[in-house]
């Protein structure tokens, strides 16, 4: 009766993930879980994330141990009804472990990062999905890259192409930023959209990328925009975070800086901190980050106000904000006008698309029309 026994396995979040560490079980053996019930916490090299059960049923056996690092597809837990005996469960587990072959590195058909020239810049992007629905373009924030969307991109790519880009100075794109102002960076985004030949694109931007989405919306003929914890909607910004991000060279200095990004501080693991340190060692990156800060946040305040542009947009506009955002206050989501739909995510900091990915995915899917 093994057909009634089902496996919960290590998920794959984003392209870079090859393995994950089970940092905590949030359920006990014997518990009944519904689909989307939070069952475990898994740490990747980017961030720790809550793992929601992909299926519903009774948790008969927790196979993986806390602290174990397991490849994608490895058995975490077994779901089965009470009628199935413990012996059958044990047999299922040993058979699974015997047959399990971890996916070989690079052997899969994963989409790969591609490059396109826009003006003087080599822009790297990752395209996932295809179909007749209008395409989506994801624009990350300051100091980030396509990984910002590791929990979102595949989910949104249902019947449509979803492009995640690396801004100049970030990720795999060329690093020089001659002019880091929002206006000039937004031109690069619309240039990229036209170079890729995208029509009726849904623009989704996070933080600094949110400001770029607003500023590029008209020129790129966007069909809708969604911005998350966006720049350009108020004066204040946590410049201690920005400068700390640029200046912090050691894990112990960067940890408290990065912890400001999230509501649940335990999500920021050592691997994520190391990734940031490695990013900042790349030639041209510190200068690019400083250029962005100097162009947009000199004197500790945001220099560009996009509220006027936002209120005049004739396309659907969705604004998402973490209620506990320590980088840009959630108060910037107030008084935005009747054309804007605002969603506040409780218990979330500046990166709700990672911290509360499933809530954010639902909101985006609704606004881009699934």
């Amino acid at each position: 009766m093994t057909k009634d026994i089902r496996a919960i396995t290590m998920p794959k979040w984003g392209l870079a993930m090859t393995e994950g560490e089970l940092t905590a079980w949030l359920v006990d053996e014997g518990a009944f879980v519904d689909e989307k019930f939070e069952i475990a916490e898994i740490e990747t090299t980017k961030i720790t994330n809550v793992f929601e059960s992909p299926i519903s049923g009774k948790v008969r056996k927790l196979v993986a141990h806390t602290g174990e690092v397991l490849p994608i597809g490895a058995l975490l837990a077994v779901i089965a009804a009470d009628e199935i005996s413990d012996d059958e469960i044990d047999n299922y587990v040993s058979k699974f472990q015997e047959d399990f072959v971890p996916e070989e590195d690079g052997a899969s058909d994963d989409p790969v990062h591609q490059k396109i020239t826009v003006g003087d810049h080599q822009i790297s992007y990752l395209k996932i999905g295809d179909g007749n629905n209008d395409p989506v373009l994801l624009i990350h924030g300051f100091g980030a890259d396509t990984v910002s969307w590791m929990f979102n991109q595949s989910v949104l790519a249902d019947g449509r192409a979803v492009y995640a880009i690396d801004l100049p100075g970030h990720g795999r794109s060329s690093k020089s930023i001659p002019d880091g102002s929002i206006a000039s960076m937004a031109k690069i985004v619309s240039g990229l959209i036209s170079a890729l030949g995208l029509k009726n694109v849904h623009l989704i931007g996070h933080s600094f990328g949110g400001a770029l989405a607003i500023a590029a919306a008209e020129e790129s003929g966007a069909k809708s925009i969604t911005v998350i914890g966006s720049c350009g909607l108020g004066k204040e910004i946590n410049t201690k975070f920005l400068q700390g991000f640029i200046d912090g060279k050691r894990g112990k200095h960067l940890k408290p800086v990065l912890e400001q990004l999230v509501f649940d501080k335990s999500l920021i693991g050592g691997d994520m901190i190391n990734e940031v340190i490695k990013f900042k060692r790349i030639d041209g990156v510190p200068a690019a980050l400083q250029a962005l800060v100097d162009s947009n946040f000199a004197n500790g305040l945001q220099s560009t106000d996009l509220r006027g542009i936002l209120s005049k947009l004739l396309i659907p506009v969705s604004v998402i904000w973490g209620a506990n955002d320590e980088i840009i206050s959630v108060s910037h989501s107030q008084g935005l006008g009747s054309n804007v739909s605002v969603s506040i995510i409780e218990n979330s900091g500046h990166i709700p698309q990672m911290e509360k990915s499933s809530e954010v995915n639902d909101i985006i899917l609704k606004s881009i029309g699934n």
């Binding site: 060279k249 050691r250 050592g270 490695k278 060692r281 790349i282 030639d283």
Partner: protein, 334 residues
Amino acid sequence: MAKKSYREAINEAIAQEMRRDENVLVWGEDNAGGAGGEGEQDAWGGVLGVTKGLLGEFGPERVLDTPISESAFIGAAVGAAATGLRPVAELMFADFMGVCFDQIYNQAAKFRYMFGGKAVTPLVIRTMYGAGFRAASQHSQTLYPMFTHIPGLKVIVPSSPYDAKGLMIQAIRDDDPCIFFENKVMYDDEEEVPDDSYTIPFGEANVIREGEDATIVAFGRMVGMARQAADALEKEGISCTVVDPRTTSPLDTDTILECVEDTGRLVVVDEGYPRCSMASDVSSIVAQHAFKALKGPIQMVTAPHAPVPFSPELEDEYVPNADKIVAAVRATLA
């Protein structure tokens, strides 16, 4: 990002710097391998193939084969650096450094100091070290402590492909003579290494993991052994901090002291001989500056004070390994 070997990481670092700066030159025994002679050009790229491919891209003006005369070609590299070029010279095995030691410790290391800071010597000497290659006593030594002893030299001991690339680029851009120690059994080790150029500053230790019970400071190939030991001890509930100083000169004493102050116990792992070694150096620094934090005796895990043996069985016993590190951690906790 792709997985690259220790060998590929070093090769890529040199190639990227040669593209960036035409003053960067490469030479050494068989570094081109076949250049100017009959038969295959670029046949070797050094005895273990680290510089292979550079001749094809940069030509015989910038990638040179040298005679088997270390005193001549290392001396030439020191002179070239003094005139403003940035040579990366390969001295095959660190064991052969004796024949050109004057050029290194009494010339290159002194120029900046003796000319009152008006002269710089942007020189990199790449060299192989370490046992485990079945190459006997004269091709297996771990001699970075000897160079660490000399003021004016910078000494780099990368423990991974990622570090090797960033530290090599830093070494080429550095204005002081750098001795870059490559462990010959690590050339095929692989990990993710960015395609972009990046630098890792000298004197900045990598705290690879943080624990509560003991600090293990390890160099070069021993870092991997220390990680294995820490993994094994973790299963028994003993958690260790592992520190890789990355460079022995300059040495990040601040990080070492901070970690020892947190854990109260120190194990130093050095593949070199025990006397006047990095193990004894780190031990003395901790004993002088963090004595009050110590809860147990410092332990050193090193090779014995004896040449590297030719017998494979003896050679395997000779090199420090994870078991010996585990035993040392237990000893300092006892």
